[in-house]
Symmetry: C2
Subunit: 123 residues, 2 copies
């Protein structure tokens, strides 16, 4: 009786065994949490500024991640038809629902670092 609830993502037809997997697909990885953190902090941000604040990201990667976030409905992309071009990114309403998680991640990371520091002094 291997009764298992199947979870399916209708966007890409991916199958999951646990909602955590789905969440990781959407907001996981090396850059997305940092992008989301930036967007949460600044409300609205331009491409170049974003790249500067995400130390070491290549334009290729940044664009890729932003497109995915956009497709998943977390991020707005607003383009101004000017020269030179100007593009602003911001969180959608749905995108804002991840902010508590990012903040929790940030808090936990800070505690972790502090703990590491404490442990190091003791030994």
């Amino acid at each position: 009786m291997e009764e298992e609830k199947k979870l399916i993502n209708v966007r890409n037809n991916k199958e999951y065994h646990c909602p955590v997997e789905a969440a990781l697909d959407v907001i996981g990885g090396k850059w997305k949490p940092l992008i989301l953190w930036q967007l949460k902090e600044t409300e609205v941000i331009r491409y170049n500024r974003l790249q500067q604040n995400l130390h070491g990201v290549s334009p290729r990667m940044l664009t890729k991640q932003l497109r995915e976030l956009e497709e998943d409905g977390l991020v707005n992309r607003k383009m101004y038809p000017e020269i030179p071009p100007k593009v602003e990114y911001s969180l959608t309403e749905f995108g804002k629902t991840v902010s508590p998680i990012i903040e929790a991640l940030c808090d936990w990371g800070a505690e972790y670092l502090e703990r590491q520091c404490t442990l190091n002094k003791k030994e």
Copy 2:
């Protein structure tokens, strides 16, 4: 005045610009959140059971992730000197502090999937 606070992880001497990065190093990646979710759900779990529940993970990867979690103080490894061997994994007290984040991730993932489903019906 590029005044930037540097965050250093004393364990591996890595440098971060934001605590989120540190958190991702410790509990990020493809498997760790799922491992932590399993440990949170079952309290104590043996290696084999863990591998079965994490669909598709290779022993190599599972062991690697578990060792890292152990080194970071999130996971206990208890070995019974028997034949056949028996090894049990569980969360440390510090490891339990990530449970809220994992749960939040799970809840958010479920909402995301539901949202995708709703959007799909509309169009």
